[in-house]
């Protein structure tokens, strides 16, 4: 299937076939990382702006490498250190960047919906690199690519997403993507971290880790932010870890032997994941990171290069 969208804002709005196009394209681009000269000319002369309103090392670096391997000019615009600090509004900043005629703007913002606002204001392509607790489509795509590579398919797989679902854009994007590809999803965590009406997103809800991880193919653990404790959502990290931390003992007792352990990072070792699990044989956490570059190359290529770009990269 070809690609016709101007922007990548959410997984929710994509058809299953579009998700597969992105995943397949990313799979084909992985090989570039193994080349001696990691560069293809697909986006030569194109400009990619990384507009990051929130700190992010992994995602920003990943987009930057992806753009550079495709020969695009990549500019990093960290909004914390520039006009945002001088009181310029988000929309004004966006209009100023648009005036510099970029081809793609990759935006990370703490407010849900910020990339959608940009997409309405700007004629260039917008990639959502994470907005508030809304969506993080490229993270979901790299998770899906990782799952398919390890399991060989999507249809019929079962996944448990564990932790702070309420504040997680990774969870939302993954739930939409996994449902569209025929997987079943259970979200699990203390009730204060499960958003209201979670079932309406098409997933099961569990309040017990042991139940949630039983017989699933994939366990995705989410990072627990310290500030949830101060907001009165959990009593302490200690108690959270006691009931929701994934340890080798719990895995051995309740999970399947071939289960995949995923985490979008950065991991709080000893809180949601014990170090033995994070670094253990079930863990595919570093595979996720390396697939991040391939996925972001695929996204930039499909948005800015179209089909001809894809052909050049092959």
């Amino acid at each position: 299937m070809g690609w016709t969208r101007k922007d990548l804002l959410t997984i929710r709005e994509l058809e299953a076939a579009e998700i597969l196009t992105l995943v397949d394209t990313a799979a084909s681009l992985q090989e570039i990382a193994t080349r001696e000269i990691k560069k293809v000319p697909a986006l030569r002369g194109k400009t990619v702006v990384n507009l990051f309103y929130e700190n992010s090392t992994r995602t920003r670096t990943s987009f930057e490498i992806a753009g550079k391997w495709l020969s695009a000019d990549v500019i990093n615009f960290s909004a914390t250190g520039s006009s945002a600090a001088k009181g310029e509004s988000f929309v004004d900043t966006a209009r100023n960047i648009a005036a510099m005629s970029p081809d793609v703007v990759v935006v990370r913002h703490s407010s849900s919906g910020a990339p959608a606002l940009l997409a309405r204001e700007l004629s260039c392509s917008i990639v959502n690199a994470g907005d508030g607790a809304h969506e993080h489509p490229t993270q979901a795509l790299l998770d899906l690519l990782t799952i398919r590579e390890k399991k060989g398919h999507f249809e019929g797989l079962s996944v448990a997403i564990v932790g702070d679902i309420a504040h997680s854009r990774v969870a939302r994007s993954n739930i939409h993507g996994m449902k569209k590809l025929g997987m079943t999803v259970t979200v699990a965590g203390p009730p204060t971290l499960i958003p209201p009406y979670a079932q309406e997103l098409g997933c099961k809800v569990s309040y017990r880790l042991e139940d949630a991880i039983r017989d699933v193919d994939v366990i995705m653990m989410l990072r627990l932010q310290q500030e949830r404790m101060h907001a009165g959502l959990i009593p302490s990290l200690r108690e959270y870890s006691r009931y929701w931390g994934l340890t080798l003992d719990r895995l051995a007792a309740h999970a399947r032997p071939d289960v995949l352990i995923m985490h979008p990072g950065p991991v709080n070792r000893g809180v949601e994941l014990s170090p033995e699990v994070a670094d253990g044989p079930y863990s595919v956490i570093l595979d996720q990171v390396s697939k991040g570059v391939a996925v972001r190359m695929a996204v930039l290529l499909l948005l800015a290069g179209g089909r001809s770009g894809e052909a050049q990269a092959q």
Binding site: H109, S111, S112, G113, A116, E135, H167, E200, L201
Partner: protein
């Protein structure tokens, strides 16, 4: 008030459909106005010598509409709205009187501000303006404002609207203290601790969009508290912008018990739901937030059966820069004066969900009664405040044409049939629909 156009002292409005719920009138009649007051309503009245005549055939002739909940923003926020622009917006929307909330800068918590508002309204306004005084000094919820003096200066009600008086003891005392003034306390019923940092209704849409939600319980809890305090004190409590099915149920039960409670609903809470937020348009953000379909249905049912006494717009002008950014950072509120009549007629009256008589009553007789304002009726001797409506006039709502200084409406682009035609205050036409 400076009328935009002077008419002779005698005016005959001829051949319109006169709808006066206070006088149980609904039929083709003439209305004779003399010296700023209604002289007579009857069939085929003779044209007095020298009288001006408005041929109102095909039009609805109603008692002047009263919007008991607007923010005129003056003094202090004149970049959003002024008394001059806000009253012109009111006139263009068919309103002959508005009550303006106290959250100006400085706050209307003392007589000097009330006097300023009234003087400005007198010299620059085109419709009647009734100030609402603050309950607490600076809207801070800590000490009572000088309520007796505010009442004497002409405040018709008391409210910290925009904020909720969280201190129940202080609110109880405010209710008691104002008992002698015959002016209600108006509650912006929203528990701040439950509403937290929310920016939309807590429900399936907030979960999907990843926006912090405001549960319906944030309103219900406070409505319940205020009804109990009204029962305790015997005071008249008016609940502003009711938005939940739960609050409707509480008000209905309280009324049945004889508690002195009244309530209002906005057009946007009747006609829009949380689904509108999917657009990420900050003009769908207000407090209280747009709720679920079930809530909107309960509100309409309550408006029909009288549990809700009136429609008020909560006209809340904001500059574009306060509304164009990130949804969770955008200001709360929408303008409503220039769209209310049109959207209510088109979406509720025309499809038969609300009768014309009920709509007119909820916009005129009922708010006048609950605030003890002059007007709300076409009885002989009443002020000649009239709203004339063209029920067949087709419009597309275009914010660029608003008289308001602000454009923050969720109804932009709506095509609708039914619009204000002429607005008459004290016998003078203060606004008329431009000819096509």
């Amino acid at each position: 008030m400076t009328p935009e156009r002077h008419l002779p002292m005698t005016l005959l409005i001829r051949g319109g459909r006169v709808i006066d719920p206070a006088g149980s009138v609904d039929g083709v009649q003439d209305v004779l106005v003399e010296n700023g007051k209604i002289a007579r309503v009857g069939a085929k009245l003779a044209v007095p010598q020298g009288a001006a005549v408005i041929d109102a055939a095909g039009m609805w002739v109603c008692p002047g509409f009263i919007d008991m909940h607007v923010h005129l923003r003056e003094p202090g926020h004149e970049y959003k709205e002024t008394i001059a622009s806000g009253t012109r917006a009111a006139a263009a929307g068919g309103f002959t009187a508005v009550c303006c909330m106290a959250n100006t800068q400085p706050v209307n918590d003392n007589r000097a501000v009330t006097d300023y508002i009234r003087a400005k309204a007198e010299s620059e306004g085109v419709v009647r303006v009734y100030p609402i005084g603050a309950v607490t000094r600076g809207l801070e919820g800590k000490e009572l404002a000088e309520l007796a003096e505010l009442a004497e200066a002409g405040c018709v009600a008391f409210s910290d609207d925009g904020k909720c008086v969280m201190n129940a003891e202080l609110y109880r005392r405010a209710m008691e203290y104002t008992l002698p003034f015959g002016a209600p306390v108006i509650s912006h019923a929203e528990d701040h601790t439950l509403a937290h940092a929310g920016s939309m209704h807590e429900g399936v849409v907030s979960t999907e969009l990843g926006l912090q939600g405001i549960p319906a319980a944030a309103e219900d809890v406070m409505v319940a508290r205020d009804l109990l305090l009204a029962e305790l004190t015997g005071a008249h409590v008016h609940i502003a912008h009711l938005s939940t099915a739960g609050a409707v149920r509480l008000v209905r039960d309280a009324k049945a018990r004889g508690v002195r409670v009244t309530a209002e609903v906005t057009p946007h809470h009747l006609l829009l739901t949380e689904d509108a937020v999917r657009s990420w348009d900050a003009n769908t953000k207000m407090a209280p937030p747009l709720r679920s379909t079930r809530d909107a249905e309960a509100l309409l049912e309550a408006l029909v059966d009288g549990t809700i006494d009136c429609v008020a717009t909560d006209h809340a002008p904001h500059a574009l820069s306060e509304k164009e950014g990130e949804f969770d950072h955008a200001a709360n509120g929408v303008v409503g004066l220039e769209t209310a009549v049109t959207v209510l007629i088109d979406r509720l009256v025309r499809p038969g969900r609300l009768s014309v008589a009920t709509l007119v009553s909820r916009l005129s007789r009922d708010p006048a009664r609950l605030l003890r304002l002059p007007g709300g009726s076409l009885g002989a001797g009443a002020p000649a405040d009239l709203t004339l409506i063209d029920p067949d006039g087709a419009v597309t709502i275009d914010p660029a044409r608003f008289k308001s200084k602000s454009r923050n409406t969720p109804f932009a682009g709506w095509a609708a049939t039914g619009r204000p035609w002429k607005t008459i205050v004290a016998g003078k036409v203060v606004w008329e629909c431009p000819p096509k």
